[in-house]
Symmetry: C3
């Protein structure tokens, strides 16, 4: 049976060797560890962006995967290192909210304070707990060390509130939560919210400008035209065919996106 | 015997977790899969750039490698998913031409329409066939599922015409097809075309400006000086020693590069 | 026993498939090779930057790791390919100084000229020894080929002088040697140099401007304020909490940083 996967999500970028160093530490502890990068381009110290990326990815990994997250502006302060056991896998990282949205997707949870320093790399630095605390813990977990060995159960952790779309009457009011590599504007309006209007006409607008759709493929509109589509995150996105919606609408996180049920009587 | 390699080439960038998600899907299907990134920095939806990168890489992978390519502006439309079997490995991706130049290098080919939905991830999204169609097919292939299980043989696919250098009299007329990370200008003038002038003098020019060479090492010219050299793609490149030829010549894909046999009598 | 790790450090960037190609070559030779990227974002042909990144990473890898480095402006010229055996692992790359600072950390050294062409990939190109020389040698090493098989011991190699901080009286004069992804300014003032002033007050300044610290965590100062801290490289860094010190001080490699022992009598 192969060793559980360990995924890595950080805001370290790829210019330095920080990510490689964490891998060296983990492979020193568990030579059979299988490592998968999620992203290292979380905007520096942007907990919400890291939390959303993590949540977007965890459903696609096998049972028992260890997700290691280092977006950690409070490193060296009193913020606590935590380990969350869920029905489908483990989350290891700082107690600053970055793990919460993913944990909420992953089923029944037990949260532990990481406290057993025998699993740390020593000396523990003040700036790089990714290397000295989180990576070693993840590697030991992947070798089969029981979660209870790392520390005691705790009741409360730092929560992170992801903005949710509001439904009022015939209108869903959402916002852009992420701009992806293509300039697509990912909203917080879930696919599940849309079928409230089954056989009816729906219109989508961004900052007051209507866009086509929701369409079923980018090719439903002409090149350079805007559209709405249920995207790769499972939520409504505003996109431009072969172009950048972020540029066209000068939009980013927080930009309002509205879905309205059109009246048939008008 | 280790599981065949799977390479990944996309235009997804590395900011989101899309590539990591495809890896999670593949490792869920084949825990022994060995994954190698070719590039995820294909310019968005740029089929030619993806095709050239793929062709540059396939000769260096072992027999049986599965090459997974997701440069897919037509995702969700009627463009077909295909699987190409060759003498040396497999190509999996959209039928938009991106696989063609590599396939032409890889020997005798059988092309299949990917149609057997039992190998897909469900529900199949409209925007991310990389995750729901191509990655699962590549992973099942790497586990030894026979190519015929995925779909029937088809005769014709979307072709992609890579511009070829023309030889007329004593002149080879080529173009820049790619600008690399160093600012080197990769042309479509192959090393094989050059020895047409064995012991004779050859001159290279770009947009009318002569450059030294073909030289045998960048160090043959002074720092900051331009040169021509047979580069890492096996074709003539125009480069600047410790500098950027793209900047010096304001050149890019399509810029003409000419090789002329110099008359000895002049 | 798993195959030794091979790490990769280059200035190739991630736009092309050059790194993937080296991996294909290595996995063709040793299908069990385990590969870890250190960085491919060394500034093009910047030997010092590559040397510092390599040195920052080697202490965290297991015994026997093979470190493959391709920052190689002299490729194709008379610069020599070398292999350095140390107590803790192997270094493979060009003889241009890039391997020296790491080798100095790694214990007793034997340096060999890589000369046995039976281990090369043929034909050997003039521009891509990473693919044709260094990657094959690293892969054969990782399979257990003895170092002496690759070539004879040589006495002298190209040295690289990393600037060292100077201690004079009550002052340590250092410089910034690297700007990291967060805009932190990594200096050459080691943690070991600082305790020269144990229970005494120390002040840190950059280009004449004093900054707080050395502090024990970024959170010791207000958001947007500058500080000094012993960072992830084991040396003093000037940082800005949740900001960029490189921007605030318009600083980069070479910028002077000074540590002064404050007189208690003043």
């Amino acid at each position: 049976m192969p060793s559980p996967l360990i995924t890595l999500l950080t805001d370290f970028g790829s210019a330095e060797a920080f990510v490689g160093i964490m891998k060296g530490v983990m492979l020193s502890i568990n030579p059979d560890a299988r490592l998968v990068d999620l992203s290292h381009a979380v905007p520096p110290q942007h907990i919400m962006a890291g939390a959303l990326l993590l949540r977007s990815a965890v459903p696609f990994f096998p049972q028992g995967t260890v997700h290691l997250v280092v977006v950690d502006p409070g490193v060296g302060s009193s913020r606590r290192p935590i380990l969350i056991e869920t029905d489908t896998g483990f989350l290891v990282g700082p107690d600053n909210g970055v793990l919460c949205p993913a944990a909420a997707l992953m089923g029944r949870r037990v949260i532990r304070l990481i406290a057993n320093e025998t699993f740390f790399r020593h000396p523990v630095s003040r700036t790089f707990h990714g290397r000295d605390v989180f990576a070693p813990v993840a590697a030991h977990l992947s070798r089969g060390v029981a979660p209870e060995a790392f520390g005691s159960v705790i009741d409360s952790i730092t929560e992170l509130k992801v903005p949710e779309a509001r439904c009022t009457g015939s209108t869903i009011s959402g916002v852009v939560v992420h701009v992806d590599h293509f300039g697509n504007l990912v909203t917080n309006i879930t696919a599940e919210a849309l079928p409230r209007f089954p056989a009816q006409q729906v219109s989508v607008s961004i900052t007051g400008t209507p866009v086509a759709g929701p369409v079923s493929a980018y090719t439903a509109v002409a090149e350079g035209s805007p559209l709405a589509i249920v995207g790769s995150w499972g939520t409504l996105e505003v996109a431009v065919r072969n172009g950048s919606a972020a540029d066209m609408f000068a939009a980013g996180p927080g930009t309002p996106v509205t879905v309205v049920l059109e009246s048939r009587d008008a």
